[in-house]
């Protein structure tokens, strides 16, 4: 079935949340939407179907300014605020969660820790090239046996004079097979989690691709395997020790996902709304039937709530007040909302809803990953649970 067609997406903003944003935010939204319509929509169904990562978009994402929008310009970012970052992620994910992932990883999980924790020299060595897309980065935290519980990681470093010797393996790493460098988290000899930059091409370092994904198919995922890899000491982040390091990066990325997922939801809703007005059964548009209206009305209600949640979280983040627990709540709520909307939107499209003529199944399958990565749906619930009760239910 042919899948290249015009992207008819129209934005929906029932509570005029856009009025709460600035002209810059609106301009950023428009620019990224236009870019997605030109660069992503025409190819995404095919990329997804063939499980091919559109690698040329790494450069395009850099040109539009999607990498680290809220990191200072001097360090390769965009010098914008957190709401601008959120809006950009939303428009990217409106196109595809995999494309948004390419940008989230580069900006929030690679540039951000280097910006926050590396020495000035290392920042200047890596950040401008990451910002311009000359270097692609990846982030290695998850291991085959340690997903939700990263503190159990076994990847480790041992002091060897001017370098550390890194051993271990990471799993499910977005961008890893195409990455020029990896931000890797490993335990030192005291058992403390340390972060470091490992360059591709280092002896003993490989990044095989993971095949057979039925979700996030336009994003490339792989492993990281370290066999006695020498990591120069200056590549290890000097100050930060413990889980706080990787978690601070995850907070950044989760924040972007809380905004991003609304994009996927909007695309599903927009398609369902249009379809419900064009598709006729029993002599009238299916949008005229109460059961269809219930679905559509509930969808836009949930989207509106998520938009307000994201906006409020963005304002808190701009004031430096957004807590990890608040970010957790928004990530969990908004991703789950998007997945449920995808399922309802699928029904409204009837049989057409299962084809690649419409973006619904692709978003739905993508959102299964988004529900799980960056902290699973249940883990985020436990974070909120711990926040309100003060009791830890993880272990």
């Amino acid at each position: 079935m042919s899948s290249v067609k015009t992207d008819r997406f129209q934005f929906h903003d029932h509570y005029l949340v856009e009025d709460l944003l600035s002209d810059d935010h609106r301009m950023a939204r428009e620019a990224v939407r236009e870019w997605v319509k030109q660069e992503v929509s025409p190819i995404i169904e095919e990329c997804s179907e063939k499980a091919e990562c559109p690698k040329h978009l790494f450069k395009g994402l850099a040109e539009i300014g999607a990498y680290g929008p809220s990191i200072p310009v001097k360090y390769g970012g965009g010098g914008m605020d957190e709401i601008a970052y959120g809006v950009i992620m939303q428009e990217l994910e409106r196109g595809d969660s995999g494309i948004r992932s390419m940008a989230s990883v580069q900006g929030s999980l690679v540039m951000y820790p280097i910006y926050k924790y590396a020495s000035e020299e290392q920042k200047m060595k890596y950040l401008p090239k990451l910002g311009s897309g000359e270097f692609i980065g990846c982030f290695g935290l998850t291991e085959p046996d340690h997903g939700s519980n990263p503190s159990g990681m076994v990847t480790n470093i041992k002091d060897d004079g001017d370098a550390y010797i890194l051993n271990g393996a990471k799993m499910w790493i977005t961008n890893s097979p195409v990455a020029d460098l990896a931000v890797v988290w490993a335990k030192d000899e005291e058992g403390k989690i340390r972060g470091m930059v490992v360059e591709a091409g280092s002896k003993g370092f490989t990044a095989p691709e993971i095949h057979g994904k039925l979700s996030l198919r336009a994003s490339i995922t792989g492993e990281l395997v370290f066999e006695d890899v020498r990591v120069p000491k200056e590549n290890v982040f000097p100050e930060i020790k413990g889980l706080r390091g990787p978690l601070s990066c995850l907070s950044k990325a989760r924040y972007g996902i809380a905004w991003g997922a609304i994009g996927a939801a909007l695309d599903c809703y927009d398609s369902a709304l249009r379809y419900s007005l064009e598709r006729e059964q029993f002599g009238r548009p299916i949008g005229g039937f109460q059961l269809t209206q219930k679905k559509l009305a509930e969808m836009i209600t949930e989207i509106t709530k998520a938009q307000l949640l994201a906006w409020r979280l963005g304002s808190l983040a701009n004031d430096g007040k957004a807590t990890p627990a608040q970010i957790s709540m928004a990530k969990r709520n908004n991703v789950n909302m998007a997945l449920e909307i995808a399922r309802e939107a699928r029904q409204i499209h009837g049989g057409m809803g299962i084809t690649n003529e419409y973006p619904i199944m692709r978003h739905m399958m993508n959102l299964e990953t988004v529900l799980t990565y960056e902290g699973t749906h249940d883990i985020h619930l436990l974070i909120t649970g711990m926040e309100v009760t003060g009791l830890n239910a993880f272990k």
């Binding site: 129209q10 002209d23 810059d24 609106r26 620019a31 914008m80």
Partner: protein, 246 residues
């Protein structure tokens, strides 16, 4: 080379068009606005390309109220160096042309570019009127523009073909599809635009010679008529009598 690009704000293409005040005013309620595509995609981008190749400055100019600042900022985000807004709410193309030409008299530019028309009123008059007020040449519907020394070569779109014209500068040139390709502003451009100058200039007095008496909307599309493929005579009859195209 000093480039001046005339830009205007137009309703977004999917906006619902309605009128108020006894069909004499456009109803702005709930309408989203954009930078007029002919100004943005072709006139502005070509000016930027020529500046990048041969040096100079690109200034954008708009005649309008503060409502227009968002689209002016967009032109700055795309790459214009600075902007001028002549502060009045013009009711006619002639007023726009008058204001811009008065500005140019005291701030000379080598090339004045504008879109071939705006996508709202589609009258395409501003360029020609500016040229007339300034007594300089006007070349319309340019689909290709090159500069050499103190002259410009413009390939014009004409019915069924094209015409190539050489014109001495300063001149006014209006841009049609093909003169350049749309540039999407990037985040850095958006941030830089905030620091670029937007100079607000008072308008010169102007009295319109013409007033709008009323607007009417086109008739709604009628339903599709299906005709049996066996019944060609009926198709011909409808095309002759109802559609009146044969």
């Amino acid at each position: 080379m000093k480039y001046l690009v005339c830009i205007s704000r137009t309703p977004e293409t999917t906006a619902k068009i309605a009128f108020t005040d006894g069909n004499t005013q456009f109803d702005k309620n709930g309408v989203q606005y954009i930078l007029n595509p002919y100004d943005e995609w072709y006139a502005l981008v070509r000016a930027l390309e020529l500046k990048e190749a041969g040096g100079g400055t690109v200034t954008v100019i708009n005649v309008g109220t503060a409502e227009n600042d968002a689209v002016i900022r967009k032109a700055l985000a795309i790459g214009a160096d600075d902007a001028v807004r002549i502060d009045t709410d013009p009711k006619s193309a002639m007023n726009v042309a008058k204001q811009i030409s008065e500005y140019v008299k005291s701030n000379p530019h080598d090339i004045i570019l504008c879109g071939k028309e705006t996508i709202d009123y589609n009258s395409g008059e501003v360029g020609g009127m500016i040229a007339e007020f300034l007594d300089i040449p006007f070349v319309s519907y340019g689909e290709h523009l090159d500069i050499e020394g103190s002259s410009a070569t413009v390939k014009r779109d004409i019915e069924g073909g094209s015409q190539t014209v050489k014109v001495n500068l300063p001149a006014v040139i209006s841009a049609a599809k093909g003169m350049a390709e749309q540039r999407i502003p990037n985040m850095r451009g958006i941030m830089m635009a905030k620091r670029k100058p937007l100079n607000i200039v008072p308008a010169v007095p102007f009295e319109d010679a013409a007033t709008v008496i009323g607007y009417t909307l086109p008739e709604g599309k009628s339903a599709v008529k299906m005709i049996d493929p066996e019944n060609m005579d009926e198709l011909v009859r409808l095309l002759q009598e109802e559609a009146k195209v044969l």
